[in-house]
């Protein structure tokens, strides 16, 4: 039996030892991945909020620009 085979056999306890290690690292990895995806979701929500804020700011600016254009037109119309 090669060294590697011997290592994986764990003196006949291979199934026990390796399944214990597998469960452990799968559970820990799930924790890491879940935490990461929760952070990404939160980040995306913040990005959405930001773009919404920008849009409403642009609309406000457009509206006030339109209003000022209208008012100058009115002033010009009144003068003529």
């Amino acid at each position: 039996m090669s060294d590697l085979q011997e290592f994986f056999a764990m003196g006949g306890y291979g199934a026990y030892v390796w399944s214990a290690y597998a469960v452990t690292f799968v559970v820990l990895l799930l924790n890491v991945l879940y935490t990461r995806s929760a952070h990404k979701r939160q980040h995306q929500e913040l990005l959405r909020d930001q773009s919404r804020r920008r849009q409403s700011q642009n609309q406000d600016q457009n509206q006030s620009q339109n209003q000022s254009v209208n008012s100058t037109a009115e002033v010009a119309g009144g003068a003529s």
């Binding site: 290592f7 764990m10 003196g11 030892v17 452990t24 924790n31 913040l46």
Partner: protein, 247 residues
């Protein structure tokens, strides 16, 4: 001094601290796991009584220790939240619950897998195993309680009270092998004057304990960041962070 303590109540400061320390925790945790597993699984000799099966100790004992350590952090943070109404303390407690439950689950499962070849049974209702199972239910109860109550402040308070009451279970777990006659073997390394474990087995075990501690710290910091962003999403400094792409 007070100024220094006050900083830890300031969300932007804690956020930046977690962001700065997080990657270090993660990478050193990974390195320690590699070294610890190499020393534990390859270098350390087999146990004269239990043969190779004892190697489950390198995940079982660190997980069991962490299951209690994380609960203590959760209970203390909950106490701080109840007394001083510190919102960050509630975040620490709620962020600790899932990883604490995971460590408890790992301790129970790996113990069960170890018990089968050594004791001839997957499970016995003895003091150590039963109190550890109760710990898992405390964690799950904490998580369920938070999810069940709709008002966030009410949920936080109720869960914090549960966490503080549940702390009586911790000494029961710790002393169960001394108070009752159990199948579970007594502690191998609690006796620091003369540990009943050889140095070549002790070092990988301590490395794995440290690795699990770092994993918890890393996970906690990442969750604190997410929680702070969620609570402070309307704050100016969060908008600045998003703007700068430094979330």
């Amino acid at each position: 001094m007070f100024k220094w303590i006050h900083k830890f109540g300031s969300p932007p400061f804690v956020y930046r601290l977690c962001r700065a320390l997080g990657p270090w925790m993660g990478w050193s945790c990974l390195a320690l796991i590699c070294v610890g597993l190499y020393l534990g699984l390859v270098q350390a000799p087999a146990d004269y009584e239990q043969g190779e099966s004892y190697r489950i100790i390198y995940i079982h004992v660190p997980a069991a220790w962490m299951s209690m350590f994380v609960y203590m952090v959760m209970a203390i943070a909950s106490f701080v939240f109840l007394v001083w109404k510190l919102k960050l303390a509630d975040l620490v407690a709620s962020a600790s619950a899932p990883i604490g439950a995971s460590f408890t689950f790992i301790a129970l499962v790996t113990g069960s897998i170890w018990g089968k070849p050594m004791w001839g049974t997957w499970w016995v209702w003895d003091a150590r195993l039963t109190s550890e199972l109760l710990l898992l239910f405390l964690y799950l109860g904490y998580i369920a309680l938070r999810g069940a109550i709709e008002t966030p402040t009410m949920a936080a308070r109720a869960a914090a009270i549960l966490a503080v009451i549940g702390v009586v279970n911790i000494p029961v777990i710790h002393y169960s092998v001394e108070w009752w006659n159990t199948l579970h073997q007594p502690a191998s390394i609690a006796k620091f004057d003369k540990p009943s474990i050889h140095i070549s087995m002790l070092i990988p075990l301590l490395l794995m304990v440290l690795a699990f501690q770092l994993l918890y710290a890393w996970n906690l910091m990442a969750k604190l960041r997410t929680g702070i962003l969620q609570r402070e999403k309307r704050a100016r400094w969060v908008a600045d962070l998003v703007e700068a792409g430094r979330v």
